[in-house]
């Protein structure tokens, strides 16, 4: 059987207090061990659960606090090495862990693949075989539907265009090889190849960048609410949660208590986070100083800064303004129902071009304006919602990354002045990876291209 290591999120996404990412295959333990801060998973006993942290190998930061179960072959579901990583619930944590695993050599499991392996390795008995086949069929159909729905029309036409560029390039190299005396086309040069690969690489980069934004949409914008005590932060939070359907509320984690609130404001998912104590900001500046506060707040995608209409601007407020300078924020002037004591001119001067919204949470006023401001802030610029849904599928992102890696290999070979037929191997792989995204893996296309593009023959 294939012994490569597969992985998938094996709990329903967005439901439940914990989410589990599962891996199966010969490398399952070593892949996780390489990312795990805690006990050496290669050494721990089989069928044990281990507390620790998953580190992001790119940023060297903690990606998630987890419990990891290690189960060695053959006494496992698939009769292969299995590792299960218990993450916090919600979509954020598992997705991040999954992406890290994929970047470290695990392959995203096909629909029903764990069960298939269990069967093929003799774990499931004969009577269940029929059910396994039905499962693969059903899951494949479902996955295909989902994949099709997730596939934005623009994405697929963009990918097709990139593939066509690559195909023409490869056909050009091929015609030089198979018809070396054919003098109609200029011999493909390293320079021409470099240009083409660069062009496609930059488009793939763009796609991955958009994918990053798509990821934000899926995970939610990390949003911090800051302000002095009693300005109405809790009310703001409650208002947002009540006004908008909460996607996930109050998830007590297995290893630490974390509160994350997901709210969807006019299509913008906000993740009201409490990482690094951002929400407890009454005394943040006082405690850790402006510079460090700034570092902490920088991790937020959006800051909601609440001021009291009924109180004059304090030194703390000014320090907060200083701490969030240059970041994405909205100033909320709360308690509009009370007497004005706030110097609005000063606030406007400090806020610059950032939006200022007046509200009264107790009288439920100004909430519409706030939501409009949030949506506007987010969708400002050239990003629109259509693009946002672009590449949000983990599988697509993974394939894009593989395509990019293959293209980089090709470009390296170009730099080393390798012959073009060698460079072309990786260009063809790029074309294949992109094909997998749109479900087109027909291998005859190249031959077709060859004969439609060039006039060949004896």
């Amino acid at each position: 059987m294939e012994t490569d290591t597969i992985t998938a999120i094996s709990t329903p996404i967005g439901e439940g207090a914990i989410s589990i990412v599962r891996l199966s295959g010969s490398e399952a333990i070593s892949i996780v061990a390489g990312l795990f801060q805690g006990k050496d998973l290669e050494q721990v006993d089989s069928h044990t659960i281990n507390y620790g942290k998953i580190m992001d190998p790119e940023t060297k930061e903690v990606a998630e606090e987890v419990m990891v179960s290690v189960m060695r072959a053959p006494k496992t579901f698939t009769r292969e090495n299995i590792v299960e990583i218990n993450c916090h619930g919600g979509m954020v944590a598992v997705n991040r862990v999954l992406e890290i695993l994929l970047s470290q050599g695990a392959r995203l499991a096909e629909p029903g693949e764990f069960t298939k392996r269990a069967f093929l390795n003799g774990r499931i008995d004969l009577s269940q075989a029929e059910a396994v086949m039905d499962l693969i069929r059903a899951k494949t159909d479902k996955a295909m539907n989902v994949a099709l729905k997730q596939m934005d029309g623009r994405l697929s036409s963009l990918i097709q265009r990139l593939r066509q560029t690559l195909l023409e390039t490869v056909a050009h190299v091929e015609v030089n090889i198979d018809y070396p005396e054919y003098d109609d086309v200029e011999e493909m040069s390293h320079e021409m190849m470099r240009e083409k690969t660069k062009e496609v690489a930059s488009e793939i980069d763009d796609l991955l960048r958009v994918a990053q934004q798509g990821k934000i949409l899926r995970e939610g914008l990390a949003t911090a609410i800051i302000g002095r005590p009693n300005v109405g932060k809790s009310s703001l939070m409650n208002t947002l949660v009540q006004e908008n359907k909460a996607i996930v509320t109050e998830i007590p984690g297995t290893t630490r208590d974390i509160i994350e609130e997901y709210v969807n404001v006019r299509g913008v998912p906000l993740r009201l986070v409490d990482t690094a104590g951002i929400r407890e900001t009454e005394d943040i500046v006082e405690k850790i100083g402006v510079e460090r506060s700034r570092q902490v707040l920088k991790e937020s995608d959006l800051i909601l800064f609440v001021l009291n209409y009924n109180d004059a601007l304090s030194e703390d407020d000014r320090k907060l303004f200083e701490a969030i300078e240059g970041l994405e924020y909205i100033v909320i002037i709360n308690k509009m129902d009370l007497e004005q004591k706030l110097d609005m001119d000063e606030v406007k001067a400090l806020a610059g071009d950032r939006p200022i919204v007046s509200t009264s949470f107790t009288e439920e006023k100004g909430i519409d304006d706030l939501e409009t401001a949030i949506a506007k802030t987010f969708f400002a610029g050239d990003i629109d919602t259509g693009d946002m849904t672009y590449v949000s599928n983990v599988r697509h992102i993974q394939l894009l990354k593989q395509a990019k890696q293959a293209l980089e290999d090709a470009m390296n070979s170009l730099e080393m002045e390798m012959p073009l037929d060698i460079v072309q191997i990786d260009v063809t792989r790029t074309w294949e990876f992109l094909g997998e995204i749109i479900g087109d893996t027909a291998s005859d296309s190249l031959i077709d291209q060859l004969f439609s593009q060039f006039c060949l023959g004896k």
Binding site: M1, K116, L120, I177, P180, D184, P419, K458
Partner: protein, 628 residues
Amino acid sequence: MVYNAGHYDVIVVGAGHAGVEAGLAASRMGAKTLMLTLNLDMIAFMPCNPSIGGPAKGIVVREIDALGGIMAKTIDKAHIQMRMLNTRKGPAVQALRAQADKPVYIQEMKNALENEENLTLRQGMVNELIVEDGVCKGVITESKAAYYAETVIVTTGTFMRGKVLMGDLEYESGPNNQRVSIKLSEHLEKLGIELTRFKTGTPPRVNSHTIDYSKTEIQPGDEKPQSFSYETTEYITDQIPCWLTYTNEFTHKIIDDNLTLSAMYSGMKRGTGPRYCPSIEDKIVRFNDKPRHQIFLEPEGRDTEEVYVQGLSTSLPEEIQHDMIKTVPGLENAEIMRAGYAIEYDAVIPTQLWPTLELKQIPGLYTAGQINGTSGYEEAAAQGIMAGINAAAKVLGKDPLILDRSQAYIGVLIDDLVTKGTNEPYRLLTSRAEYRLLLRHDNADWRLTEIGYKYGLISEERYNQFLEKKRLVEAEKKRLGKIILKPEENVQQMLNDVKATPLKEAVKAYDLLKRPEMTYDMLETVIEPDENLPHDVKEQVEIQIKYEGYIKKAHEQVERMLKMEDKKIPSDIDYDDISGIASEAKEKLKTVRPLSVGQASRISGVNPSDVSILLVYIEQGNIARVAN
């Protein structure tokens, strides 16, 4: 009434490029072999271009040689020039091509067959096969001779219901006015074998004396002596050049004006022609913005004045061919000796074959060559040697030989044919091979000598030479791994000479050779040279080291592929019994009857989920068998 004309182990019908390899392989393996051909003067005749080799095809010729075939040795003796192509590209795509001396080629091949032990060569037209209880037992000729055999290989090329087309002229014929084979075709249909109709074409030949070569460009062969066969030691040094000229607007106008007179454009045509070998009519129609097309003038031999006009394949009426040819610079006064024509013929739909080239529905019957829908002498010869080996192996109780896609272009060719089929005459291209970095001209011996030896087609002497070469390559690689080169004067000078970056620190000679600009020859100037090392060993060392990373990557891909090839599908599998497989996939699987899950996954229309389900089903069967 038929008469009993004898019993053989293997009968080969046809003595073209497939037939000769099949007959020789079978007889050399020890099978008593009979070869029947329509015309003993046309053995291994080249009815079209006078050349052998070229990209992909040249590598196939080397592969045939490594398996113990004869094509390479014969062309080494019967050519007017040779060229190594793609020399400025990577080692994987370099390939040798020879311009053949057609009459000499025929003579050499006939001679080889005549002098082979175990082989009987006879003229005769086969009309029928003897099939008893669904198994092929022999053949019957038009002269009523019944020959009996354990296995029969049919290699009838384009002769089956062949029809020559030129303008509105149309007559039943094999290539070059040879007798046509009608009854055999009808008989195969009666046996339930599905046939398709293909076509191909050939250009006119002109008399060399009537060509004004001064208006053309010379195309000489390489000066360096080269050979296809690993056994060749004598080289032809006096080479004859080819010549290059072009069509022009006048040529195109004549073709355009008379397009409806072309057999291929007048609505008569039924057969499918190959895209890679279009007639000049096709080229003008499909690429009408091109102001000119290349025409190569290729002599057909030393002792003939016939010149093949490559690039002018046509089925226009003879009269128009005369007009057309006179528009081409250098050919203004050229006299046509034979006019070009198209030929339509019956071919066996190759998905009816096992990868051994045996027909699934008629055990004992094999087909090889153009009859299987391919085009090209090399493709035919490749199938011929494989069918010959397999037919003889069956008789002798040896294992069948199936080459996979990572072992040889021959493997790619046959796998494509029997797995995907083809809807036009199939030609090998380097782009059809996924692992072409492994399928090189230089390493055909490395890949296949062992196999040829195992089947008794490679002599003890040659095998030992091969083992010695392997040993020398390994030893030299090891030696280079131990030599340390310091950034000293001579090394830096050598690097400077090719404008390469100088050394900053000491490196192993092995690693220095990995640099793209480095060659083994250069390395030899700065290390202690091994005087006794043969050239091909040095070449092998250089390629294996220089492309090590890429080769390793290709091997990893092959590993993954082979895992799926190792998953065998039981021969009694009932695809209708598998509920989850999509119906289109099911139909394809029932036709192709793949031997392995890997082969199944290459059938178009069989999706990854179908493959998954197939895997599970097979495993279920295995469990059931164990339980029983």
